[in-house]
């Protein structure tokens, strides 16, 4: 098994997806690919099915919220792993919170099921094609997505927990 390098995979992705890729950087040794949300599913399918890159293991899927990024407030982050070559890759995509739709990865990885449910539960990302997209850790009748930044964790009248004390 030839070893996969970040540079090699980077060039393969660039030649395959071209302008659909917004950014490719190496962060703490892990290749991080930011892809346009329209090509998100295709990229991951390709990463899984390509004979060389062969990322057959879904390590993690999660989301993050960036309220300051207009029209791309929600960020979905996927970690994939090619076990035999021990190659890890991170795929990120941004979607607007007004249209938080993204194709589900459940046809590719069964394990994506609950990970996507968790991201839906906490961030409201709607994964189209998901077999059972409903809350998982929160109560069934939860009507908002608590990890979004607009929902503060603590009592807002407390002055000692102001953002400026958190260095931002």
């Amino acid at each position: 098994m030839a070893t996969l390098t970040n540079e090699y995979v980077q060039s393969r992705i660039a030649s395959q997806f071209g302008d659909k890729i917004t950014e490719q950087v190496e962060s703490y040794g892990m290749l991080t690919v930011t892809v346009h949300h329209e090509a998100y599913f295709d990229l991951i399918k390709w990463l899984k099915e390509d004979a060389e890159i062969n990322c057959m293991f879904l390590t993690d899927l999660t989301a993050a919220h960036y309220p300051d990024r207009k029209e791309e407030e929600l960020n979905v982050v996927v970690h994939l792993h090619n076990l035999p070559a021990n190659f890890r890759i991170r795929v990120k995509t941004y979607i607007a919170s007004a249209h938080p739709h993204l194709p589900s990865l459940t046809p590719l990885y069964k394990g994506a099921n609950w990970m996507e449910r968790e991201s839906f539960d906490f961030f409201g990302v709607k994964f189209t094609g998901h077999p059972k997209l409903k809350t998982i850790l929160n109560v069934d009748d939860m009507d908002y997505h608590p990890m979004l930044k607009q929902y503060p964790m603590e009592d807002q009248t407390r002055e000692d927990k102001d953002n400026k004390y958190f260095g931002r």
Binding site: L83, K110, F166, G167
Partner: protein, 401 residues
């Protein structure tokens, strides 16, 4: 001919299924899990797990906590092996800030993490035996977990939710008393574990109950993103300690045991063997333990000794800055994984330079593999479902976070 066929089909009675609520607080589930089972007599037709009963919003809380305060949150993930979670978190932050650690700290961490793995596997395996009806083995080995807890106490003062270590090392060096307890443990525990194994491993009743119970194939386990002993029992030799060595695991010689069928018996046997491997790693680490300090030289993250805080200017300044969270943290995102008691425990940390993480996500192995549970118990008996769950070692704290 055709008429008779028709007659037989209409004569078949409508199947009557029963709905059975297993949990949320059923003593056999060892935690707060609910499974709504559709039963055909004693056979499970469908299962619908409900989780989240002890969800404590750690990821949300972590966005408001300085890095050093998040350690206590990680304690409460897999509380059967808290030190591994603590160390995993410390290493994630160290990776973010680019801290270099002395070899000695890494070896000390290896010892504590392997003790935690032993404690975790003792619980899991003896509880599998309890669920199959063999209580005695459990009472024999449970006291050894107690001895491991006493060692934790020597290191950090706590037992279950350990909060052990600091970013950059340990708060103090291992004491002589700890070394004595560890040496006693290494001398006496193998005999006790051998006794346990000789009681259970080739026990006819145990084997009949567990072989072929709740099996999963390697392909399916990979599809479901299984990690840890559950994946290895299915025959895939994936172990983070070997694949992405952290904390100097590359210095130690150990074997990764694998099973073949991925059933309850294989999971049990894989954990048994891992205990022996952990013991061997601890011995190697003790033998090779280098000289040096028990912490890294990163005054901006590692609290100075209390005497220095009271007597020196620098000590006071660093202490104040650390406690008030005035330390510069680089921006960036980092993923770090350790081999937890149950599999790959990952930390995905996004830092925006603030004193708390912008986003922190725990990749919790339990949460990910528990979703395969309905598929694993379908078509089996209710009693098999119970031992399948205990052999998967689903820990409620890690499941719900």
């Amino acid at each position: 001919m055709s008429t008779t066929e028709k007659n037989t089909t209409t004569a078949v009675e409508e199947k009557e299924y029963n709905i059975l609520n297993l949990g949320p607080t059923h003593p056999a589930t060892h935690g707060i899990f609910q499974n709504v089972l559709k039963m055909d007599g004693e056979i499970i037709v469908e299962a619908e797990p409900t989780i989240g009963y002890i969800h404590r919003a750690f990821e949300k809380i972590a966005e408001r906590r300085p890095f050093y305060q998040i350690t206590t949150l990680t304690d409460r993930l897999n509380y059967c092996s808290s030190p591994i979670n603590n160390m995993g978190w410390h290493m994630t932050v160290e990776k973010l800030i680019g801290a270099q650690l002395p070899k000695k700290v890494e070896y000390m961490r290896v010892i504590v993490m392997e003790l935690a793995r032993i404690a975790d596997h003792i619980i899991c395996n003896s509880v599998i035996a309890v669920d199959t009806g063999a209580l005695t083995g459990f009472t024999y080995v449970f006291q050894w977990r107690e001895k491991i807890y006493e060692m934790y106490e020597e290191i950090c003062g706590a037992r279950l939710t350990t909060n052990v270590g600091r970013i950059g090392g340990f708060e103090r060096d291992f004491s002589d008393k700890f070394h004595k307890k560890l040496n006693d443990f290494l001398a006496d525990f193998p005999a006790a574990w051998k006794e346990f194994e000789s009681l259970i491993n080739r026990n006819r009743i145990f084997m009949d109950r567990t072989i072929g119970c709740g099996p999963i194939t390697a392909e399916m386990a990979l599809e479901y993103s299984f990690t840890g002993p559950n994946l290895r029992a299915a025959g895939v030799d994936y172990d983070v300690r070997a694949m992405n060595p952290y904390s100097s695991y590359q210095d130690f010689d150990f074997v990764i045991p694998v099973g073949t069928n991925g059933d309850t018996y294989d999971r049990f046997m894989v954990r048994n063997e891992e205990i022996w491997q952990s013991l061997s790693i601890i011995k190697q680490a003790l033998e090779k333990m280098p000289e040096g300090k028990h912490h890294a030289d990163i005054p901006e993250f590692y609290l100075p000794p209390k005497e220095d805080v009271y007597t020196t200017m620098e000590g006071l300044i660093w202490h104040f800055k650390i406690v008030m969270g005035e330390t510069e943290v680089p921006k960036g995102e980092v993923y770090h994984a350790v081999e937890g008691g149950n599999g790959e425990l990952g930390f995905y940390l996004v830092s925006d330079g603030g004193r708390a993480p912008y986003r922190l996500h725990f990749r919790r192995p339990c949460y990910i593999y528990y979703q395969a549970y309905p598929e694993m118990i379908k078509g089996g008996m209710l009693s098999d479902a119970i031992i399948t769950m205990s052999s998967m070692n689903v820990i409620a704290g890690e499941l719900d976070a």
